[in-house]
Amino acid sequence: MRNWLSKRREYSRTVPETESGVGPMDSVFTKCEKCGEPIYEKDLRARFNVCPHCEFHYPLSASERIRLLTDSGSFEERDAGILADDLLGFENYRQRLQKARGRTGLDDAILSGTGAVGGKRVALAVLDFSFIGGSMGSVVGERVARTVELAGSEELPLVIVSASGGARMFEGVYLLMQMAKTSVALSRYVEGSWPYISVLTDPTFGGVTASFATAADVVLAEPGARIGFTGARVIEQTTKERLPEGFQTAEFQKEHGMVDRIVHRLSLKADLERLLGFLP
């Protein structure tokens, strides 16, 4: 969550939230915040929010991500209608939830269910950064755990796409326990022999990274995605250390042995198809 906000602030400079998670694209044509080139909104949408000029990957909503990855019409949502409960009575949490639900049309920062990827059926969970920064709370934890169990019981490969600023501290210790919840579920799944593929997108931090997002057989990441435990801003504040260029990028994580491959968003589906083709 601390990460979430630091990230969010950076973001709001470049990408005001919209339902699709797309940035300054609501006019017919706009300027890429990264390379400054003009982009037509339709081009950007057609490329799932990847700049046609500099290939910068803008945030992508869970629904668009599912459209990107699954064979058309194959996705069936599961576990809809699970809603966060403000058990701590945390100042403004209910309002925040209302606002996020209204703005995104989502129950919470996740969509999950089953779908086909190149004809192969998988259990799929996708986090959505536009819902309170994709922060992990009880609903994300519960739906991830149920998706893992679904994969186990139906003997399906498991694919989870993460985008999370970190913890949703409005839920206090409950969200901490979601790390344990998703881990116990995964620890059972991996006793079987179906693969778990994790896809890390910008940004993935905190409790998500420190639990299910990194516990996969294969870890893929989108170019330039910022991935880590604690956000760079917080680290600089606490350690007073200047961090190197590219710190915590997907490329940095690959160089440090934490990520298997950097995959361009527009080839992500093809990569998943290849990968799943090799595996049970």
Binding site: V173, L175, R188, G207, A215
Partner: protein
Amino acid sequence: MILDFERPIKDFEDRITELRRLAGPSEELRGEISRLEEALDAARRRIYSNLTPYQRVQVARHPERPNFRAYRDALADDFYELSGDRVFGDDPAVRGGLARIGDHNVVLLGHDKGTDVNSRVKGNFGMAHPEGYRKVKRFYELAARFGLPVVVLVDTPGAFAGRGAEERGQAWAISDDLMTLARIPVPVISVIIGEGCSGGALAMCATDYVGMLENSYLSVIAPEACASIIFRDPSRAAEAAEALKVTAADMKGRGIIDEIIPEPLGGAHNDPQVTIEAVGQGLNRVLNGLSETDPEKLRQARYERYRRIGAHATENGQVG
């Protein structure tokens, strides 16, 4: 060190000492002294029976509070420390090894906050690096290999946030501990003896039994950090501690922990001996209970326990 809210207590203590000095052998001030002693006792009771969450956080951080070393030395008849993650280094922020507690051979580990400036710095104030979490994983697996119960004493402000920690996969190391904890077929029990903050604490307390000392706390984030984010004002840490519901009582009330271990009046630092004995009795009781349990039943119960916890409701209102 005296915490602000302990000031009145300190004042009574000082005056009593002073009077004793004046009185010397004479009987004169006896009455006055005993009156003050009663006032002191009353003040202690008043203050410590009404600690706010943030005051408890301060007690949990008290430098004289008994820490891993004190428990290890008092409760383990023998402790054979092991070290190293076998891939990069040895992190003194967490220590562990083979120990005998009561009639039980166990793997004992915990965060080491140290006892003086040097050891505190060496142990990075209990904030572990990935090396530390990988050493912890080694301990979990060693225990599983030899069928020994694991006893963890949790006392950390959180996993360390720094460049090296990120470069070497802090998140990966913590996740790996959680996956290992979920898997090992031996009893795993933990007591939060001070601070239990962030995933750095969870990696060592997602266990079959979790006890909390009365004034310890468990939180996803330090109240100060939470305040500076939510309220944009670190000085509102007390409110944040309140809102985050971090106390042992909160955790017990929500069924997240098994037991609150009471502290002596004035907090653990006021009587380490009594505190340590209380923890020791708890550990022995739990070890006796769990050491009989069938490993598969243990894993099953652990699964169900952590699979359940959440703050969500399905649309028809029933909590999932």
